[in-house]
Symmetry: C2
Subunit: 334 residues, 2 copies
Amino acid sequence: MATLREIAELASVSVATASRVLNGSAQHHPVSRDVQASVRAAAQTLGYTPSAPAQALKQQRSKIIGVIASDILDPYFAEMTRGIEIEAAKYGYVTILANANRDPDQERTKFRVLREHQVSGIIFCGSDIEGSPGTAELAREVNLAVRSGTRVVALAPRGFDSTKIVIDNVAAAHELTRYVLSLGHRNIAFIGGIPGLSAAEQRIDGYRAAMFEEQAHPHVLGLSGMSQESGKDAVTQLIASGPLPDAIVCANDEVAVGVLAHLWGSGYKTPDDVSVVGIGGARSGAVFGLTTMTLPLVELGGLAARYIATAGTSPEVPAAPRFELHVGSTSAPR
Amino acid sequence: MATLREIAELASVSVATASRVLNGSAQHHPVSRDVQASVRAAAQTLGYTPSAPAQALKQQRSKIIGVIASDILDPYFAEMTRGIEIEAAKYGYVTILANANRDPDQERTKFRVLREHQVSGIIFCGSDIEGSPGTAELAREVNLAVRSGTRVVALAPRGFDSTKIVIDNVAAAHELTRYVLSLGHRNIAFIGGIPGLSAAEQRIDGYRAAMFEEQAHPHVLGLSGMSQESGKDAVTQLIASGPLPDAIVCANDEVAVGVLAHLWGSGYKTPDDVSVVGIGGARSGAVFGLTTMTLPLVELGGLAARYIATAGTSPEVPAAPRFELHVGSTSAPR
DNA sequence: TTGTACGCGTTATCAC
DNA sequence: GTGATAACGCGTACAA
């Protein structure tokens, strides 16, 4: 790997000049046209590649954005990380992806590792689980880092003092439930969630609020996860316990897919027998024609990445983008 | 962030000693017990965190593994990256994830960026598309890097000279098709793939071979992608063009899910009306009870990560793990 | 407009 | 068993 010194020698200039030409500061610091040309030529022939570690060491910050995801495999987070990656790349940043399995201890470990790498910022995808052991320690550590200048962004409800770009889950679920109510349904169940998982609980709150407004009785079940599997389990239970409700609001699209798969597999039809709606809008539900409250996850990730990448120039925190109802073929009037 | 110098001062030792204590070499280089203790104490109170860039600069290699994925959102690759991440973490490595959208030019760009970061190795998830513009340039660049000592691992068929840990797609599809044939089916269609995509073509080859062996007529369609959407499109076409085949072998699980979703949505039943099987074994098909040839993707990623992380000590290339048939509820005897 | 020289935090080589 | 010190590759005051 060619170094700046070799370039400088070949171009018969000082390393300082070579550096100025090859790394941006040529704007602030004038370099004559021909020198620029010869330096670039030299870099070309030697196949110069700047050393990111050296730059990071010098600048006290690497062009890396750290991402801590609750679960890489969940399309919900995959969408976010994708948005982050794409936007980061536009600014010459790269992303380190760390999976934390919704475990605060793992999150703390990853957080540390990311800091060791002098990342420009750290993005948390996914909310925390209240009362989960280790949450407090994580919060302490994050708060400390934030106070010392590290840019930390949370893309979901979190109990620490980071920048937050969070979708209004209460409103999303509320609006979605209102839509289902507007179809004439009253007996509407809510499926999915994890006790203490803020994002899920907010969605349940929104659902409950909408139900109460119409004097309908909320019925929440299947608080055993946010996966397809948990959707399937919950609907199995629902089927066993009597006639189906008019409609099912799912905690996210994954749950909804699980619900649909099991319903269809059991001979039920949507929306004839029951309407099913989800929250998320990632691709997973598309092929089923799932009606869902689309959350702009890619965009959300992009905003966080841009916020970190442009830290110096534009410090204002972007507002979370708005969700949008996507009506598919799994919901219909009563 | 506390530096080694500060630690050294607080512990009243030299930076050299502090370094020896805090970063491994204490094994090779003896340091007295009490000095060790005081250094550790100092590090503790000052909250010492080593600087990864500084270490990387010194060692000419960072503890980072670069991953270039064809499509982060595809669970197939998500599984691999997850396996990589988990195994890498065990060795104190971190992974930079780059998405390349199956575009050789993007792959080349990402490849460069990863090299700039002095990564210990680069893993390609996903095969190339023969004849796709830019493939040759990518190959040239990768070959060059490989020759200069960079560890590059491909987890799918690739046209460059990297280390390869690749599942035998031909055999997987062959065995899967033989299983379907053994159920008594003869009219078996193959759905999915992308022209030139090596992995897909190998699966088609395996399918064809198995069909020929039983004097059955292969019928390949839907070469328009490896997504749920393409599965759906292909099956739509299949339905329109006459009676369904006995069984459908899908290029991967995503396609299979798309096929199932559309079949079920159209009132068909599996396996009564038609058997459907996939290749992949990622979680996506589980909730549908999909019969699939399970590929050990997480393990595959882990092997690659370990191979890179242990580059110094164990240079032998691991063999690709073996696939395994998982019989679900979407396939049955004729 | 260009060059000199220093330091970023770490490890490794030498000397003690 | 411990300590100076020289790199690693780069950016940037400061001089010229």
